[in-house]
């Protein structure tokens, strides 16, 4: 019998997996006895969505197909499911039970170690039976049968697990603080407010394996003596919220949540709270304020959450990925966990590879792997084989690590040394066509909008920095701007209460440090080397190459391209909005971007 799984996380659905699923469902129709069609979470290979996996129960053979639209679905049905022969042209990977995958895309997976993503893309996330069949809730049972909260804390401490939300605080230690504080009620909070642009690890875990997060929270609650839990999830992740709610209901029905769980004296309930769109709510004290129904503004620490957190009660707050690690650690033991990663950063980390990389997606790798291995091997290198410029890690709080530091190991020691941060795992790859001043401006624009306004330096300082970056990108930079940015950065870092302000200048500081020449080109030479900043670039049609096919003129949004059919076309520079559409449609690459140092230094108008 065949089992057919369609990857139906948000990314898969966006790529058209729903159509693929419906097509397969229609074709399989009444043959449910021969073929079982299910959904699954994110397999991680977002670049070849929609993905369909066909498993042959008898031989244990798995075939993963990529880019399956409804035609592909029909082909798979007719050729593979009916006649048993693999559709070679759509194959991404092939493997047998218990063996490493093989196939054109196997280099994406061979160096990965799947602890957090152990079930993502394997099980149907909407079925608790699937989770249980893969050893789900065994860790909870083990903990309950041992009956010793201190053992749990010691085990988590021994594993060396560090918070995966970004800061890397030792998880076991954090739990011991909350466990040590006595109160009538204690809370366990899961931070699922994944707000960093370019990061989607937590979403994939919530959509692909929600029970793992619930089980992690249950174990934490048992260890610290909490009875109530909250998952604070971004409202922008409707599918994650839906699957979480479903999972909570199933866990209740199965007796894993509620009163006197599995006959023990331990009771625990979990509520999902939807965020309302404020990046600062990823900061834990702001998150608590938001759960309480207030404006999400951070509070002064101390008192720390372990002492006075949610509703001023002892609270333990961890990130989604941290909780998802816990059941594995309890089942396999701390020593086994320490076999992955480095001495000071044990275990694995999930990264969301995006940007100018060939194979964007989710990759879970042992800590200490180099950026080169992640980007060049797992990621498959740079799109269109352009020149690698750097990688942005840690979102708006992080920084840009240049190509020269490509051999930096990715862990909690080496990444902060570059000026970036580990962050939650977003990795946006940049190539020669990415302007680093524009990237800095992009992040400042983000943090400036998202500053809650409590601290003056964050509220106003980021705006001043943004204004400076904007004028640099518009070709109006002034000689003193670099120094101004650096001094504002220091002040904002020192005078902000929470992580948002303290880290907001990082993108500017790292680009100033590693890409100063790009700032100089914008400010004093009047051009954008990456040809991104519109006013510092010109688009010109090469009259010799142009075949007069009118494709560019037809597609031009402002109709600024003129010329007769079969005659060279001309771009009216005054009307041009620099949208680059003409470049993308030209069949003969006749449209050129021109950016060169202007002889005359632009006048810095005061």
């Amino acid at each position: 019998m065949y089992k057919v799984k369609v990857g139906m996380a948000t990314c898969g659905i966006s790529a058209g997996a729903k159509t693929t699923y419906e097509k397969l469902n229609e074709l399989i129709g009444g043959n449910g006895a021969l073929v079982e069609l299910t959904i699954t979470g994110c397999i991680g290979m977002c670049y070849s969505e929609p993905l369909v996996e066909v498993v042959d129960d008898e031989t244990g053979e798995h075939v993963l197909y990529g880019g399956v639209d409804d035609k592909g679905a029909e082909q798979i049905y007719k050729q593979h499911l009916k006649r048993g022969s693999v559709v070679d042209e759509l194959v991404v990977l092939k493997w047998r039970d218990g063996q490493k995958p093989d196939g054109p895309q196997s280099s994406f997976l061979v160096d990965q170690e799947r602890i957090v993503l152990r079930n993502c893309g394997v099980i149907d996330p909407e079925k608790i039976e699937d989770y249980i069949a893969r050893g789900g809730y065994e860790a909870l049972k083990k903990v309950l049968s041992k009956g010793d909260p201190n053992w749990v804390i010691d085990e988590v401490k021994a594993s060396g697990l560090r918070g995966r939300g970004g800061a890397g605080f030792p998880t076991g230690l954090k739990w011991s603080f909350a466990a040590g504080n006595q109160a009538d009620i204690k809370y366990v909070v899961c931070n699922a407010d994944e707000g960093d642009p370019g990061a989607f690890m937590d979403r994939s875990v919530l959509e692909g394996d929600p029970h793992a997060v619930l089980e992690g929270m249950l174990i934490c609650a048992y260890a610290i003596g909490a009875t109530h839990g909250y998952i604070y999830c971004r409202a922008e992740y409707p599918l994650a919220v839906k699957r979480l709610r479903k999972a909570i209901q199933q866990a209740k029905d199965a007796g894993y949540l509620g009163q006197k769980i599995k006959g023990s004296g331990f009771s625990f309930s979990i509520k999902v709270k939807e965020g309302a769109g404020a990046f600062v709510c990823g900061e834990e004290t702001a998150l608590f304020a938001s759960i309480e129904g207030e404006r999400g503004m951070p509070r002064i620490r101390p008192p720390f959450p372990a002492e006075k957190g949610l509703w001023r009660k002892p609270t333990n707050n961890n990130n989604v990925e941290t909780y998802a690690n816990i059941p594995w650690i309890i089942n396999h033991g701390a020593a086994e966990y320490r076999k992955f990663g480095t001495e000071k950063s044990p275990g694995t980390k999930v990264f969301a590879l995006a940007g100018k990389v060939k194979r964007g997606g989710l990759a879970e790798v042992p800590m200490g792997m180099t950026i080169r291995e992640l980007v060049m091997e797992i990621g498959g290198g740079i799109k269109k084989d352009k020149e690698y410029k750097g990688v942005q890690m840690g979102g708006p709080s992080g920084g840009c690590i240049p190509a020269a530091l490509i051999d930096t190991p990715v862990d909690f020691e080496n990444i902060p040394a570059t000026g970036a941060i580990m962050g939650s795992g977003g990795m946006v790859v940049m190539d020669e066509e990415t302007c680093m001043v524009d990237v800095a401006r992009f992040f400042l624009d983000f943090t400036q909008k998202e500053s809650c306004g409590k601290c003056t330096f964050c509220r106003i300082g980021t705006l001043r920095m943004l204004e400076i970056l904007e004028r640099i990108c518009n070709g109006e930079g002034r000689p003193e701007d670099k120094d101004k940015l650096a001094s504002l950065s220091e002040q904002i870092k020192n005078a902000s209460l929470c992580g948002l302000g303290q880290t907001a200048p990082n993108p500017v500081l790292t680009t100033l440090r590693y890409f100063e020449h790009e700032y100089d080109a914008h400010i004093s030479e009047g051009y954008c080397p990456a040809k991104v900043c519109p006013t510092l670039v010109d688009y010109v049609i090469d009259a010799e190459k142009c075949i007069g096919c009118v494709a560019c003129a037809k597609g031009c949004p402002v109709e600024c391209i003129t010329g007769e059919k079969k005659q060279p076309h001309v771009i009216d520079q005054d009307k041009c909005i620099r949208c680059a559409h003409c470049i993308t449609v030209c069949p003969v690459d006749a449209v050129m971007k021109i950016a060169e140092p202007k002889k005359q230094k632009p006048v810095a108008a005061e």
Binding site: S14, A15, C46, E236, A276, E294, H581
Partner: protein, 171 residues
């Protein structure tokens, strides 16, 4: 039909409210689900039920990006401005959308068809640049694709309203 259900949703939430702290944001979300935005009378109802002053409720509404005090268009366009979409040229695409719809970001057009918004990241980075139109995701966009998607929606809506007009006299 769906409207009645949503209305029950908001009223039900208000009725169910039993003084449990921290329910303000879910109540506001229920109100917005129903009305498409948060009208003044909804603030008054929530205030009466919870005892939280309207001014404080207003403060919470304006703090969060999700809440709207103005009605939104039938189709809400959310262009992703995440890092991956940004480096893939999302900024130009916003200009194209604004040009096509004829309003700026954050605004709704005169016939209430489109509202143009940007969103921080929808987490479909491998499909960048991405936009959402209501619940539908469109990936790997370029200016041409955006214009054809929006024009298609506009055409369909025009056909629908013409169909209605044609059907009216027969009534």
């Amino acid at each position: 039909m769906a409207d009645t259900k949503a209305k029950n949703g908001f009223n039900f939430q208000l009725w169910r409210y039993d003084g449990e702290p921290g329910e303000l944001i879910p109540l506001l979300q229920a109100a917005q689900d129903h009305y498409g935005y948060i009208p003044e009378h909804a603030i008054e109802h929530i205030s009466a039920a919870t005892g939280i002053t309207p001014s404080k409720i207003y403060g919470v509404i304006t703090f969060y990006n999700q809440f709207r005090l103005q009605p939104m268009g039938k189709y809400v366009i959310r262009l992703c401005e995440g890092t991956a979409c940004h480096v893939a040229g999302a900024k130009t695409l916003l200009e194209v959308i604004e040009d096509e719809v004829g309003v700026h970001e954050g605004e709704t057009d005169d016939d209430g068809l489109f509202t143009v918004l940007t969103v921080a990241c929808i987490g479909c980075c491998s499909l960048a640049p991405v936009m959402l139109v209501n619940e539908e995701t469109y990936g790997k966009l370029d200016p041409k694709k955006i214009r054809s998607i929006l024009r298609q929606i506009r055409r369909e809506e025009q056909q629908k309203s013409q169909g209605k007009k044609a059907a009216q006299p027969a009534k």
